[in-house]
Symmetry: C2
Subunit: 111 residues, 2 copies
DNA sequence: TCGGTATATTACTAAGTGGCTATATTGCTG
DNA sequence: CAGCAATATAGCCACTTAGTAATATACCGA
């Protein structure tokens, strides 16, 4: 599991880390702020953040004793472009459903 | 990691399994067909497929001694809707870049 | 310089994952 | 029914992961 996309997905495969990212979508936050919502020890929070950083999903600066985190969207965009491979199919099925709905509506049939 | 989205992401966090899904995006396939491209033992292939099935990303029917797999898009759509939370931000950044490009083009400035 | 706050690192444990070989199951087909 | 092809299961191993408590580091303010 050495490729970037796997790294991204593995980092996202945890509700705590996803919640952190959603929090960061609203703007930068410190480690303590990011960890506040969770009943986890401080090292556990640091670890989660390190996973996100290693995956390139966040980056960090330094301000006094704070290490504020900000969201990095590049890897998310990469995942998004992977998802696009399936989006056509999903939408295709949606179209089929819509066609079907339009059809029963026009013919008055219920089955 | 008990929630559905984590399950989906963990299943996707493996290049072999992603390749299988991409293959299935082109249509149904048997276990052997799905495993053919990989230098893995047959049990390893079965295991990967089971992970995908458990995550609800594929489903399987039964035809003689074959167990053909088909792609299930519901969980992918769910992931897609999670990604939407970030898409606005990514596109926002893109817009900023476009605005910037439009600006330097109209003013003739390079910085 | 000392104490406090923010964060990281270390060392440990329990559980999960991905791979293997060997074996079992299931259903055609001869 | 015998044998083969497709697939699943069991048992094992090496490695990773998510959590913990304890400790270390870094920086601010009095």
């Amino acid at each position: 599991m050495t490729d970037q996309l796997s790294l991204t997905l593995a980092a996202l495969a945890d509700p705590t880390r996803r919640a952190m990212l959603l929090r960061l979508a609203a703007g930068a936050a410190t480690v303590t702020e990011l960890g506040a919502p969770f009943a986890l020890s401080q090292p556990a929070i640091s670890k989660h953040i390190k996973v996100l950083e290693t995956a390139g999903l966040i980056s960090r600066s330094r301000a006094a004793q704070f290490r504020p985190c900000i969201l990095e969207t590049a890897k998310l965009a990469e995942l998004d472009s992977f998802m696009a491979h399936f989006r056509a199919i999903t939408e295709g099925q949606l179209d089929q459903l819509e066609t079907y709905l339009a059809q029963i509506q026009s013919t008055g049939e219920t089955k």
